[in-house]
């Protein structure tokens, strides 16, 4: 089940939210949310839900063990064992196909496995792992109750697409949550904005991207290639940050505060800054659990960066192109740190923005195509090797110009700043806040409505006797 499915929106969500809202005490609330989360996961992954339950169980046990044997080798063994098992699950389910496939092609063996990737395994294994390590480090108290830990790992808002919530983020909220109508209303606003990003922007832009990038790349014109990759550039942001918004909003509705995951990454002035704004919970995970333990910038700085970025790339998918994508960022970040970063900062900010956007745009090409030969073909198209424009490209672009314009506005904080100004202005008036809140209600309903139109519209699937 995804957040943008009608069944989620109109059946699962109201039932869960209302049930947990009217539950008598926190324990019942937790049980309802846990049950809903397990149902949510089982809906999409009926078989492999067992992996999630087992991973949580292992890390729960390890937490207890560490807690009872502080400062003894047992604690060390426990954290090591739990890490191996947790990452082992990730490796088997996500990377084994890749490894065996590569071994086959290298040595001519026939050990190719065919394991289907359980939904969200990349996210929940990291969450479970961070819990054990944090307990070991003494950053958080160990959770004595298994169902509460399972609740942390499996909580449905963040289960399948992040953000990667740390146990410390919600440690207190598992036992005590402050919920007011105001905070729920805030959560709703956040949720509908996320839904809109997904249903309106990501889906429409995605259609454009696949039209051009999934076509016959050796015939793709320069104009088509650029439109395609720019559409993807926007799509991936709206898609991913939309999911994060929905997760954060859902969390708020239930009294959890999840960490921010995106902070307008496309307004960055450098690639370094981009990664401080893009998928923040992932980069901070790698920072805290890989980069700093390796020595950070104190020793083997470059090597540490290399490890982190290749892993970051590889985390996004079990394929060479993702590693290449990570490596690409490693190169850019090292260049910025060691070569031109300081000089760049002195240039006009327009130049810095253009540089960053261009660098990220090129990065998405590696991200999009798993097939390396397609990357080559697309680059050829981007420089016009397959013609400048095909018949109809101009019309095609003109038809979608407004979509691109609103997309550009929506990736900047412009609307946010504007609304803040408006709110400040409204506060000068008696009942300004009330007016703002009335507007908020209208906004929520309108955005929900448009999103539902887009979602239902995308189920329009005419039977095509089209050609004959």
């Amino acid at each position: 089940m995804v957040f943008s499915s009608l069944f989620f929106l109109f059946v699962f969500l109201p039932v869960t939210l209302i049930a947990q809202h009217f539950a008598a005490d926190i324990k019942l609330k937790n049980i309802i949310i846990l049950a809903a989360s397990l149902f949510f996961y089982a809906w999409g992954e009926p078989k492999w839900i067992i992996v999630m339950i087992l991973v949580s169980l292992v890390d729960y046990g390890a937490g207890l063990l560490i807690d009872r044997n502080r400062n003894t080798p047992i604690a060390k063994w426990a954290v090591a064992g739990a890490s191996v098992l947790t990452l082992g699950a990730l490796i088997i389910f996500k990377y084994l196909n890749f490894f065996t496939g590569n071994i086959d092609s290298l040595f001519g063996t026939e050990i190719q496995t065919n394991i289907s990737l359980p939904i969200g395994i990349s996210f929940y294994t990291f969450q479970a792992l961070s819990y054990v390590v944090d307990v070991y480090r003494g950053d958080v108290k160990c959770q004595k109750s298994y169902y509460k830990l399972l609740l942390y790992v499996s909580m449905f808002p963040q289960l399948i697409a992040g953000p990667i919530v740390r146990y410390s983020d919600i440690e207190k909220e598992i036992n005590k949550r402050k919920i007011t109508y105001r905070s729920i209303s805030t959560g709703i606003t956040r949720f509908v904005i996320g839904l809109f990003k997904k249903a309106f922007f990501a889906n429409m832009l995605g259609e454009i991207a696949t039209t051009y990038l999934d076509g016959n790349l050796s015939k793709t014109s320069l104009v088509q290639a650029w439109i395609g990759i720019i559409a993807y550039f926007f799509q991936i942001y709206f898609d991913f940050s939309g999911y994060s918004d929905m997760a954060i909003g859902l969390g708020k509705m239930m009294g959890f505060s999840f960490p921010e995951n995106f902070r307008y990454p496309y307004i960055s002035k450098s690639v370094t800054e981009f990664w401080r704004r893009w998928h923040i919970t992932l980069s901070s995970f790698f920072r805290d659990y890989v980069y700093i333990p390796l020595g950070g910038n104190r020793k083997n700085h470059i090597f540490n960066l290399l490890v982190v970025w290749v892993l970051t790339g590889f985390w996004h998918g079990a394929s060479w192109n993702f590693m290449l994508w990570g490596f690409y960022y490693f190169v850019l970040l090292v260049l910025e740190k060691k070569v031109y970063g300081e000089k760049m900062a002195k240039l006009p900010s327009v130049v810095q923005h253009i540089y960053t956007i261009f660098a990220v745009l090129i990065g998405w090409i590696f991200f999009y195509f798993e097939d390396m030969s397609k990357v080559g073909k697309l680059f050829a198209s981007l420089v016009g090797a397959h013609g400048f424009a095909a018949a109809g490209d101009g019309v095609m672009f003109k038809n979608r110009i407004l979509l691109f314009v609103v997309a550009i506005i929506a990736v900047t904080p412009l609307m946010s700043i504007l609304s803040k100004k408006l709110k400040k202005f409204a506060k000068r008036y008696k009942h300004g806040k009330e007016i703002v809140q009335i507007f908020t209600i209208v906004f929520q309903v309108a955005v929900l409505f448009i999103s539902v139109c887009c979602l239902v519209g995308s189920t329009y699937n005419p039977f095509l006797y089209f050609r004959f």
Partner: protein, 574 residues
Amino acid sequence: MTNERNPYDIDNEEYRALFKRIEDGGKRFAQDAEREQNIKREYVEDQDELDFLDDIAPDSVRSTRSMPDNGKAPQHAKKKPNPANKNAKSGGMFPDLGSVAETAKNLFKKDASKGEKMTAPSDGKKASPTGATKTAPNGKKKVSLLKKLYKSSVVTFAACLVLFGFISAVDKNKTVSEEENRALAEKPKFSFSSLFSGKYTVEFENFYSDNFPARNFFISCNNKISDVFTRFSAGDDGEVMISTEKKDEDFIGEGVDLLGDKKKQGMKENTAAVTPDSEASIQGSILIAGNRALEIYYHSDENAKNYASIISKTAKAMPEGVKFYSMLCPTAIEFYGTAQYREGVHSQRDSIQKIYSMYDPAVITVDAYSNLVDKVTDYIYFRTDHHWTARGAYCGYKAFCDVSGNTATPLESFATHKLDGFVGSLYKTSQASVLKENPDYVECFDLSVDAQNMVYPTKDMISTDGVPTYVVAREVNDTNKYLAFIAGDQPLEKITTSVKNGKKALVIKESYGNAFVPFLCNNYEEVYVTDPRWINMNLTDFVATNGINDVIAVNYMFAIGNKTYCNALNSMTN
């Protein structure tokens, strides 16, 4: 000594000054604290940039706000839960909308009483500076307007979801979507095996979204949204390009359901297809120019060669004395598109010439193209559908008569009737509202001879399997009015006419042939019609068995690149 003062001996003046200093310090401290608070708040706002509509101020700050001077006791939010708060929470699901409306009237009054924040309202009730909730005169515990609004926001959102969730649970009576020309997904049957394979939940979600309440309304709203954001066109001649994602296997043709399950009886499993790399950079696109939809054509040498070889092979497989004709029909964009869609790789004229030049001499080519050019100002193509009209098909008929030695019956000699309100396939795929607003009509030319049409599922034409149908319909109870001609795509049809000349023809076609076939009834005693996609038979045997004289392969330009059709045709001869 006397000047030396006891440090504890402070006179009143000094005492006051000292006190003032302490007080100021306290105030400054308070100000600092407030500033710090503000900084923190701004930080939180920064953190929460996306919550641009959220009221960031903490509850404690908000609680000192006063109410409008409308005679109601001021209500204050309180941090700690109290009985009033509890009441607000567990009270009715819906807020008191009446009082909301009443107080809303006062909203636009500018706050003139800034200095009176803490003063009591007109009824003399004392405002509580601590922010404690007061009891209104009627004894009912009340909540602040702002709180009510927060609550209404939550209730509205919940109501939207619950309402639709509820309606969707009870409202399930549509099974077919006419707009989309397909059956809506049915509720899947539950079984543990389908549950564990993940099939059940996927099917259930499809069922749910297909049966979503007011689905057509939402789809049409979405259409309006698309008109702005993906089909934006300025000016009257504004063109709109719509890319369509199509799968080859979708193109199985459509006919009136006469044979039921028997229709598939004669079909054979499609053999693996060769996948020629498309010449087009993108899958397929429809150009909307004015109120006409045009599908963009791309030539492919590989497809052309493939098609030419299949036709040549079929022609050579014909029994001795049988004439084999091939007619390729261009589509509307060749005549109604602007130059850029007709040149180079888009030129259907060049494509046809190339293919005709590759044919084996056994194939007699039919030049429908030239006749269509002559009639380009007539209604020879639909605007909302990809087919030609009967008038267009007549151009093909005339061209066929010219090369086959038949005499074409003049078009003027036919009585005609019209089927109005036809919105065709190109609307269904493009969803461009301009097409729906400007529907086509189907012009039918009534037969001037008697003709009986029988549809059969297999080549054996077993009489008990046969179902009688029309050649040209008086009316069509389907959105696809093009079905007016020979009941659409059927495996095999046999039309017996009152033209007693002993001549027999076989038409091998996809749906472009449908409008063409009725005209042949004027020249042949028997006309057989087959759609290769729906039947499995050997053409050589069939032609020999039925004593057919002329075989005509009618295809439009998009059939050439279609694997399903080409493979089906290829498999009809050895």
